[in-house]
Symmetry: D2
Subunit: 292 residues, 4 copies
């Protein structure tokens, strides 16, 4: 748990397993044995499902225990405790595929955060159902752009094309940055757990189309946005992050759309950050999010 | 628009009417003519419905124009502009009837605000479907308590009893301060526009029973409460005020209920304050709320 | 107070004057006489200073009363009531001069809002004490860029150059979008009331340099940002808008800086919007902000 | 880390020590050895001070390891790691002494939360510089009331009396629930770390007297409240919790005071909850607060 002058590699370990005594002791003991220093640790004991969740950040001096050795040791523990686990080297930036329709505020925001080094991702592609000239004012800084128009007839083929792009680019995460095409059940299922969507309402209120118009019609006094993992059920995926802003009777649907842009972009950016920092673990229809 | 050393009576005028030119000029001209000084004025021009809404606070030196004279002048304007209007003397505290079930946090909060002079109301009765000894720890400071137990069979009779209490007490407003009995359609309709309910969710999410358990199951990251006017449709009345607090995966339904108490009591207190300061006007299924 | 099928010109009138009876009646009467339909009106009666403030939005059918005629009528009223007033045609986009140092998040955000039509401004210049290549990644969409480096010796000359740019460009507003040079007293005074600064703390806490490091050292649980008019006293100008976000003990100064970027850009954007929609009136060391 | 059908005793262990490898492994290993099941654990590695902080909640089956045995084992670890630590049985309600002046909203709120079982404390006394009849409307439910008036001359004697009350009552925590007397340096020092104060401003803004009037004069757009541990320096103690609400130009100092009551009571209640749940550890002039 201390820093030293030797260069360190930082790892993030996330895990979940049936709860039983001794998990923390076993893991922290093993990490100590492997000369790993824990710098952050968060855990959650779900009393309902009796599942145990943990996120551990630790450092290993370069030249000591290798990632391969860590994985082997964790595999042993994983078997003992029936553990789902993942180990990430924090210096490796996750590859992401961005999907967008006409409204580009979330895309522009994510690209800005990436460009100034705030968001440690590697964007490997931008997919849109609109052509490149819709984004004529935007510099994509060399990120490949793919125009993938979708009609009822072409949807299966075009979704297959996106999955191909995903595979060929090595992206581990798809971000639906206001991508307004409804995914097929098959596509949604195949992206399950590795795709984050931003919905422009405070779910579960105002599912479906034109949520700001719905919110206006209902006369709510706060509007919101919701970032969630994509699952088969539209707008029903595990929620990662939500936020709201106050509105009044004097705000029109256009005002709500304008204010919503601010909420959407910050909610999506936070959710992406939580994901790539390995702070999120899916827990059935909900999420565990280990924030600071 | 100025204060003077002469004692002043302060009035609040609220109105709505079909929008057309000249309303503000006519009203402000008439008030000037009657020696009334406007100290606050707020208006809202609903472009959808083309209805115009206004709230005016004005002062009249005591001994000058009487309330009767004001009403007569407003009646003339009301006819010209097809205006719904109401005039209140701000020094008269509105009589309210409070209804509560087992959970008393909203009731206790409203009584506290009343007792220290923060909320200028006159509570004329407390109605509960639970007996007085459920509230044994509470001092009701002389406010009459009415035990009105409700079963399926007795509901019509007991609702009639509440309406009688309302009439005989002269209360203009019923506050459902976590009153957990569903009102009959008839009762709801007869209280329409003069009854405020606090619902323990961020509507339209989680209507109906046990909203905190619903919120927990859905895995939302913020919970809320909603104060609304009662109408025939349960949980569909015009919303007056809402607020939220952040929660995490580590919060149990009991934690949500605990945090919810704080949200509910402040949301209800704000809504009641807006109502008795005549800041709210119902606009179809929504409200106009002229906040500061 | 109503819309018609004839093309309308929309005006915003803002005014302040010593409070006395009859102001609203006089203005609304005069506007009615001039065939102007009031669509929004907000007023504030400052009981401390006995100054009256008002903002009125009204429409005039094109071909009817001209701006010149409106100004003449208002000049008469202005004399009668000793009124400071300003009349703006809402279709004319205010010219603004943007000033920035190395951190460009506020600049990028304002340019984005302008580009998509959210913020009706006309940027006429970008001034920085850093050279253009610091912003190599940014497209300025043809807005002239001026590199105005500042040293202790050159400050008077360079400030004069900025004032020249301001005059020659016809800009009515200077926006200090994280411009980190301290203005001289003379410069601050000459920009008084027509320059908005974003300070990266919740004023009056943490004035001066490195506010996020100050906030970290003090151990506050919320950080904020403040947009204010520039006056002679650094960080003491009238506040237009503030906002905050929650932090914890686990956040480093770098985390605060990152979170602060989000707060700063939305606070500055709101303040600029309030200004150009003529919702702000300076009231001594404070502001009146007529929000919706 | 699991619950069983045997009755369990729940303990909360908090600790801080110089950071070095092996702390978590040593503690979790020792707890496993003692048949203690960890149900919650949070840690913080302060990179600045190189101090490590931890909070662990664990269960022990009744009849197994005793508190005495736990303490002995922890004492050994405490020596090895130069650890400050504290062990609390969660079923033991902390005794608290409440101090209040004329404004009783925080006191009433804390007593309500205690009475309904929300706040697991045992109030052992209420101290006020005002006599009992100032609180004539309040039921203190048998909690001893002590009128301790303070003048310049009597302050030393009266502070000694409060310290006596503290000692004789066995209270571990003093809560200044809007107690408006400035403590002497000696008194503040002797209460250091075991006294929570609510200050009615968003510190570090508006220290000292009449903060809402200061806030009004400065024209801020949000007001707040701050709960902090008392230290020798007035208003400079480690902050536990803060919150804010939005205000506008139209709010008077009295409005701020009214809105402030809501902020103060929820901020103080949260801070007290954090303290008694052993979520707070003082870290120099700051706090570590392990929230959920």
């Amino acid at each position: 748990m201390t820093a030293s002058s030797v260069a360190q590699t930082t790892y993030v370990l996330t895990l979940s397993c049936p709860n039983r005594p001794g998990i923390v002791a076993a893991i922290s003991g093993k990490l100590a044995e492997l000369d790993a220093n824990i710098t952050e640790a968060q855990q959650f004991d779900d009393r309902d499902s009796t599942v145990f969740f943990m996120r551990i950040v630790f450092e290993v001096a370069q030249g000591r225990t290798s990632m391969q050795q860590l994985r082997e040791a964790l595999a042993v523990l994983g078997n003992i405790f029936s553990m789902d686990w993942a180990l990430h080297d924090r210096s490796v930036k996750p590859k992401v595929l961005l999907m967008v329709s006409r409204f580009d505020h979330c895309l522009v925001d994510l690209l800005y955060r990436w460009r100034i080094g705030e968001l440690p991702i590697e964007p490997v592609g931008i997919v849109s159902n609109h052509p490149r000239d819709v984004f004529a004012d935007l510099d994509f800084y060399g990120i490949p752009f793919h125009h993938v128009p979708v009609t009822k007839e072409t949807k299966p083929a075009q979704e297959a094309r996106v999955l191909d792009l995903l595979a060929s680019s090595g992206a581990e995460l798809v971000i639906l940055a206001r991508y307004m095409q409804v995914l097929s059940n098959e596509m949604a299922a195949s992206l399950s757990g590795r795709c984050i969507n931003i919905h422009h309402s405070f779910l579960p209120g105002f599912k479906g189309a034109r949520p700001y118009h719905q919110a206006f019609a209902r006369g709510v006094k706060l509007i919101g946005a919701t970032a969630h993992y994509v699952t088969r059920d539209l707008d029903e995926g595990p929620i990662i992050e939500q936020d709201v802003e106050r509105i009044s009777h004097a705000h029109t649907p256009d005002d709500l759309i304008r204010k919503g842009r601010d909420i959407e972009r910050r909610v999506l950016a936070r959710a992406v950050r939580y994901h790539i920092e390995r702070r999120t673990i899916i827990n059935g229809s909900r999420t565990v999010v280990f924030t600071t």
